[in-house]
Amino acid sequence: MELSEFIAQIVNGLDKGSAYALIALGLSLIFGTLGVVNFAHGALFMIGAFCAVTLNRILTWSHVVIDETKTDFLGNPLKVNVPYVNDWFGVETGAAIIDWSVPLAIVFSIPVMILVGIIMERGLIKHFYKRPHADQILVTFGLAIVLQEIIKFFYGANPIPIGAPAAFAGSFDFGTMFGFDPNTIIYPYWRIIYFFFAALIIGAVFAFLQFTTFGMVVRAGMADRETVGLLGINIDKRFTLMFGIAAAVAGLAGVMYAPINAPNYHMGMDFLVLSFVVVVVGGMGSLPGAVAAGFLLGILESFASMDTVLQVIPGINQVVIYLVAIIVILTMPRGLMGRKGVMEE
């Protein structure tokens, strides 16, 4: 195997790995703080993607104008849909705003997702702290069904394609940067951006937990909730906000994923199973474990789908993640980086 091919596969695994890592990070955050196994986390990812769709719909909200300069084939003046943003900001700026609707959706989705997360936690999850994990899985599984059906009711069952800004269309031949032949390592711009965006979010979450007073209290609460509570700190309130942040992380992963994979109502369920596997492989409740396992499994998956590998072990690309997960669960009771004493039964 040539070096360029090797690098190409690693890079290929990064964008899927980033999505796994972001979802798994949120899941681990919820499990680590609240001790709740959230099966509705995939639905939050999906809602994030539909935030991008919604913003796109809002921005392209149009009214019909009769354009006198153009005529249709019968000679009548043509009716054109003109988005309101064009009226307000002028044609060029309006078009640019619509073009950049996905990056703009990041700003739009953060408050929405935090709100969704807080409502979820206060309205439902709160009552399940003391119930067994099986009950938590079941109720959030039910919630996931409800959320995806609501989305299906409003947006229909078909995938809704939504484009990345035109500036990021096309691919980047970055093999040439390292002295490889052209066209050996090429990669779509948007996926590169997705990776860096994911890295940024992950870094931000860790920095927030590590360097702010709020994060310190949350970490203390993760280690020993009762003591922190006895010190007169309202840890519940902070954990609720952490749930909101975890929801926002999943939502942002979804927003940015929308141009890669057209959002449909069941995309959350598709990612849920894999991200759970990622969390368990990384170690329940371990944040670095979740991130590492996300990238690791993403890259493994892309290696397994190489032709040279498939010739030796056919079909391995479909099952490699599950296979690795089974081996890790059986041989490492705490996953790759799990803390001692957390979910070790």
């Binding site: 009950d135 059906e149 199973v273 099952v319 669960i329």
Partner: protein
């Protein structure tokens, strides 16, 4: 009767009566009336009731008794289906070898998967079973295509070997049968406005469900069942008393896997086709829903849950906005439109929404499922009667709380 105590015998008789008279019970509305769309007494749906009843009974033996939540049970259903369809392709269209082999194959595979998965418990067990089922699903679509038929699935073909069957007559297609009695054979009974369909396949599946139900009662009441319950309430304590719980849990896993295999085999016996979509993890989730909805750990609950979900899937999903408008036609127009708009998201294509909401309600308020709900209502009535009779006596008898 048959080693059952009085209460269980009564339950068994109720179930027998329900299964035998299902074509009549499920068709309460005359054929021509507007309510006929709520009739569930057609063969296809009744077969599904009993087949998924078997699946849920089996799942309940594992989840209800031992507390191990498997998220990959659909794999055994799928494997049973494939085994059965291969028997139909290779040996005979008679359903007996198909059903027996589907149970055996599903049992063997569940022995392997269970032996590995039961090394861990709790959520790790759930993820392990989920991983195995997803692997089975992915492989059925990719590498195992020669065995599974990939996306097209498998059906009996005209030129299959079928070594035990006489060659097909010209123009005849292979049909699943039991010694010549075709699964699709029906007898239509017309009584006044009512039309009752008596179907051979349904009664064969129903008979097997009764056997499966009887076996599950015996397991629930046996020392073996007691051991499984002990595992559920405190596995550590069981281990400390010097008992190895693994053989018990593994046996429960294999039994429930065989139940799933039987269900898969029966599905094939009824519709003679098998596909990988039966193994997807949402199918595993569905049997969890059925068991929880009906009442986990109860005898009859899972069957009720299975019937309930299949009824919704087939009947509620058929209600569209036109039907809703007909229902509310007696109201003033504005009111009618309003009510239709309110109900529309919950029926027709949106029946999953109703299911999800209902499921959440049950997990939140009635962890014991429909059975617990029924019991609570029954208790209320019973208490009321009792209270009327000897209010003072009871107050004296119960110590202050």
């Amino acid at each position: 009767m048959f080693g059952l105590n009085k209460k269980d015998t009564r339950l068994m008789w109720i179930v027998i009566t329900m299964v035998v008279f299902a074509p009549f019970i499920l068709n309460p509305f005359p054929e021509t009336s507007g309510m006929a769309q709520f009739n569930a007494g057609y063969p296809d749906l009744m077969q599904r009731f009993v087949i998924f009843g078997i699946f849920a009974i089996g799942f309940n033996i594992l989840f209800g008794l031992t507390g191990y939540l498997s998220f990959g049970h659909a794999a055994f259903l799928g494997i049973g289906s494939y085994a059965a369809i291969w028997m139909m392709k290779l040996l005979t269209m008679n359903v007996i070898p198909a059903i027996i082999v589907s149970i055996v194959v599903a049992g063997l595979i569940s022995l392997v998967i269970g032996w590995i998965s039961l090394r861990r418990s709790g959520i790790y067990f759930s993820i392990l079973t989920l991983c195995f089922a997803m692997m089975a699903y992915a492989l059925a679509y990719s590498v195992l295509t020669p065995i599974t038929g990939g996306e097209t699935g498998l059906q009996p073909k005209l030129n299959d070997p079928r070594i035990f069957d006489a060659p097909l007559a010209a123009g005849a297609s292979p049909k699943a049968n039991l010694f010549g009695l075709q699964m699709g054979a029906t007898y239509e009974l017309k009584l006044g406005g009512w039309l009752f369909v008596i179907n051979a396949g349904y009664y064969i599946a129903g008979l097997l469900m009764l056997a499966a139900f009887y076996l599950s009662i015996r397991i629930f009441r046996s020392p073996f069942g007691m051991m499984l319950r002990a595992v559920k309430s405190n596995q550590q304590r069981v281990n400390y008393t010097g008992l190895n719980s693994k053989p018990y849990t593994l046996a429960a896993f294999v039994i429930s896997g065989m139940y799933a295999g039987l269900a898969g085999g029966l599905l094939v016996a009824m519709d003679t086709q098998a596909g990988a979509e039966r193994m997807f993890w949402t199918a595993s989730g569905e049997v969890v829903l059925m068991t929880i909805l009906g009442g986990v750990g109860t005898l009859i609950g899972p069957v009720l849950g299975a019937g309930f979900i299949k009824y919704m899937e087939n009947i509620v999903s058929k209600i569209n906005s036109k039907v809703l408008h007909e229902w509310f036609a007696f109201l003033p127009d504005g009111m009618e439109d309003f009510l239709v708009a309110v109900f529309y998201p919950f029926v027709g294509k949106g029946w999953h929404l109703t299911l999800g909401l209902l499921f959440m309600m049950i997990v939140i308020f009635l962890p014991g499922g429909l059975m617990e709900g029924g019991q609570k209502i029954a208790d209320k009535f019973r208490n009321k009667k009792k209270n009327d009779k000897d209010d003072s006596a009871q107050a004296a008898a119960t110590p202050a709380e």
